[in-house]
């Protein structure tokens, strides 16, 4: 049974970690090498890795998506999709896809004369199932060794921790003030019931005793 318990906990931890890893912003220092637009089929289960469409396109089976091609300092390639998140999940409220594409185009550079940029994005890149992280912001930096402090993640995770601790404190207060007294009452009532039963038993025994008659001399 211990294995079942630990597997369960591990699974919960994995799901939580994946959730945050997918949705929280991450930063890459890259060189933008190009942008393109490509029609994407949205028919299968990988649909969940693409932005939710606006209402008028909810029934589309395919649509054009903008992409940003980048190369990291170590030569590794990265391709970002560039889609509005709109009012939906994750809550980046991104509506400036076209502007972002323009900025990316503006930052385009060659290997000989590199311009470095920090791309903020969320999501995962998987060649196997063709999914791409969504770029949400871009700005130019001087060198590829730019040190990035993930303020957004620090603040978000701290706030989340505070919310969890507050909820825990609320629950404890509620239990201490509202549930425990009820349980104590119930225990008292239970004890009282026991006492009464004993008393009734004694009484009944006493009454039966009168039947037995007096011990003969």
């Amino acid at each position: 049974m211990a294995y079942v318990k630990w597997t369960f906990y591990a699974l919960v931890a994995l799901i939580l970690f994946s959730f945050f890893h997918y949705n929280l912003p991450q930063h890459d220092v890259v060189r933008i090498v190009g942008t393109y637009q490509e029609r994407q089929d949205l028919g299968d289960w990988t649909r969940i890795f693409w932005a939710s469409p606006e209402d008028q396109s909810a029934t589309l089976v395919n649509r054009d998506v903008q992409f940003i091609q980048a190369v990291k300092a170590d030569g590794a390639t990265m391709v970002y999709r560039n889609e509005d998140t709109g009012w939906g999940w994750p809550p980046y409220f991104k509506f400036d896809t076209a502007s972002l594409q323009t900025e990316a185009d503006d930052l385009r550079s060659t290997r000989e004369a590199p311009k470095w940029a920090v791309v903020t994005h969320y999501g995962w890149r998987s060649e196997l199932i063709s999914i791409f992280p969504n770029a949400v912001g871009i700005y130019e930096v001087d060198s590829p060794d730019q040190r990035i402090i993930p303020w957004m993640n620090i603040i978000l995770l701290t706030v989340l921790l505070l919310i969890v601790l507050t909820l825990r404190a609320m629950w404890r207060q509620f239990r201490q003030r509202s549930i425990d007294p009820l349980i104590e009452d119930a225990e008292d009532a239970w004890d009282e019931l026991g006492d009464r039963a004993d008393a009734a038993g004694d009484k009944a025994r006493g009454w039966f005793g009168t039947w037995k008659g007096k011990p003969r001399k």
Partner: protein, 91 residues
Amino acid sequence: MIGFLRLMIFGLVGLTIAYWLMLIYMRSLKREDLENEWDEVSGEGLPPRDTYIDEGMSGYEHSLKRKLVWLVVIVPICLFGVLLYFMNFNS
């Protein structure tokens, strides 16, 4: 537009729940403090226990601390606005 409405409705429902939870929690803390204050001196020089607590609670209902519970609603809405601005109109 449906997306915006959905966000507003779910957001307001969530914030309302958070507000009520915080309201009840803060009230409970205040009542516990009052009870402990009374019990510490065994009510000496104070009005009867129930009266003392009732008066303390009605004072709390008009205090700044009670009004600060609204921050639970106001802060997320402000953050939403700030995020919307910095994501789209500041580049």
